[in-house]
Amino acid sequence: MKFVILNYVKPRNFADVQPENDPDGPAWGAYTKALLDAGVMVGGAALRPSHTATTIRLSEGRRDLHDGPYAETKEQLGGFYLIDVPDLDAALEWAARNPAASLGAVEVRPLVQG
């Protein structure tokens, strides 16, 4: 079954901070490597901070654009992993090891076509 693991972190924990200022860099590297070594990683990416986001809506045929993320929350989507594991239990096990679990929150969602 395929799951997406969404990493929600505070703005200062985003992947583009300078490596020397990012105490969590090694943890992310080790986590990604563990997923690869286990053969469960299908894909994933780290995202630029949420202030670089642009949000678009079409309402009544009019485009409404604004700078910033869709929802202003304390933690923002900082990246995601796509994994392939036998079941939700296994996905949760990997999600708990995700550094974002202690930095913010991790959301696990099954894909429609697993």
Partner: protein, 423 residues
């Protein structure tokens, strides 16, 4: 409302006293009451429902009339009536059943009702061979201690909805299969008791594992496991392993304060802990329990593990860890119960007595398939490779361990170790 309006404080106090009394009985007697109700009906889910309903009624009733002299008897009486009401509704009441129930209530409430302690039976049923081993601990935590499914789900890292379903299924299985709430024969007892002890130890280990992730939840689980361990040693005093398990968890618990550096909050490994922070009282209780286990018979898995902890605890007096004793005991443990944890522990002990090369050979003998995603394996491997002077191998093993670590404090500890290697 009008009557209470003039005395808001005392009304509030009555409310609090009732809620507190109900909470206290629920906390202390939940398992005992569920056991008593379920042993009769063989229906754990039904017993829990009836008890939950009785607790709700208790809060309302006790607020108005004050808590009864014997809250346990009150709850059992009401829970039985609720159960009987349901049964009566379902089966179509026989004339006069209500009278009979009232008489029964009166008898129970007036007699200083002795509630038999059937919790051991309840625990044995939860650990029945027909129940999925993975569900035995969660089931026990719920039916003996009354912990809600969501908290159990968090501890076991299972989605709350799935945990709720699995718990219901396990209870339905007990009811459908008509599992007997009876004490096994003397010959069968050790095997069945072992499953109970395993489940208690699993609860304790879980609490220990999440100590840095969620201190509050960890404390709860650890306290509940300790409580169960004391209970089983009490209810089955002839089981050596029950006393050994109690000793084991007490030894581990005695070091709680020393596991974390008070200044930095960082994780402190056993061998670097300040033994002055160990809890002497818990160690003394653990030593008593271990002695008790020793007088009862052969050592099993928990006996060896507790004995290893006893040697570590002795460092408090002697100042050094007696590695040859520890290695010897690990050898016994691996023979009694060749778990992954035991083999890893043995390898680490072997490094102190026979050297890192020998220890690594021991570690290499563990099948890779079992170990690749086991974080403690990689922590041990990194440690042994550092001792052996294999810097590159140690760096890689630390990386692997870091990637498999859940809590931030351990992750920081391992990252520091890896950096220290690099400098």
């Amino acid at each position: 409302m009008g009557r209470e309006a003039g005395r808001p404080d005392s009304a509030g106090e009555a409310r609090d006293a009732a809620a507190l009394a109900a909470e206290r009985v629920a906390r202390l007697s939940y398992g005992k009451l569920v056991a008593m109700l379920a042993v009769r009906s063989r229906d754990i889910a039904g017993a829990e429902d009836a008890l939950a309903e009785a607790l709700l009624r208790a809060i309302a009733d006790w607020r108005r009339f004050g808590p009864p002299a014997n809250p346990e008897a009150w709850l059992v009486t009401v829970a039985r009536r609720i159960d009987a009401d349901r049964w009566r509704r379902a089966v179509v009441a026989a004339e006069g059943a209500g009278d009979w129930l009232l008489r029964e209530d009166g008898r129970l409430a007036s007699a200083g009702l002795e509630i038999p302690d059937d919790r051991l039976r309840l625990m044995l049923v939860c650990a029945h061979p027909a129940i999925d081993p993975a569900m035995r601990t969660p089931l026990m935590l719920q039916v003996v201690l009354g912990i809600d499914a969501r908290r159990i789900a968090s501890a076991f890292l299972v989605s709350p909805a799935a945990m709720g379903q699995r718990l219901s299924r396990a209870k339905a299985r007990i009811a459908e299969a008509g599992l007997r709430f009876e004490l096994p024969s003397r010959a069968d007892m050790p095997g069945r008791a072992e499953a109970v002890l395993d489940a208690i130890y699993a609860a304790y280990s879980l609490g220990w594992d999440i100590a840095f992730i969620d201190a509050g939840r960890s404390r709860d689980l650890v306290e509940e496991a300790l409580w169960l361990a004391r209970l089983v040693a009490d209810l089955a005093p002839e089981q050596a392993e029950a006393h050994a398990l109690l000793a084991l968890v007490l030894f581990a618990e005695s070091r709680r304060a020393a596991r974390r550096d008070p200044a930095t909050g960082r994780f402190v490994p056993l061998l670097e802990q300040d033994t002055g922070l160990w809890d002497a009282q818990l160690i003394a209780e653990a030593e008593r329990a271990l002695r008790q286990a020793g007088t009862l018979g052969d050592r099993g898995r928990f006996g060896y593990e507790a004995a290893i902890q006893a040697v570590h605890a002795a460092r408090r007096r002697t100042g050094t860890a007696d590695w040859s004793a520890i290695e010897h005991l690990y050898r016994g443990l691996v023979a009694a119960s060749p778990t992954l944890g035991a083999r890893i522990g043995h390898a680490v002990a072997l490094a102190e007595t026979a050297g890192a090369a020998e220890a690594l050979t021991q570690l290499d003998a563990i099948p890779a398939a079992r170990a690749t995603q086991h974080q403690p394996y990689w922590v041990a491997r990194a440690h042994l490779m550092t001792l052996a002077g294999d810097k590159a191998g140690a760096m890689e093993a630390y990386g692997k361990a870091i990637g498999l670590t859940e809590d931030a404090a351990s992750r920081r500890f391992l990252t520091d170790r890896r950096e220290r290697l690099d400098s």
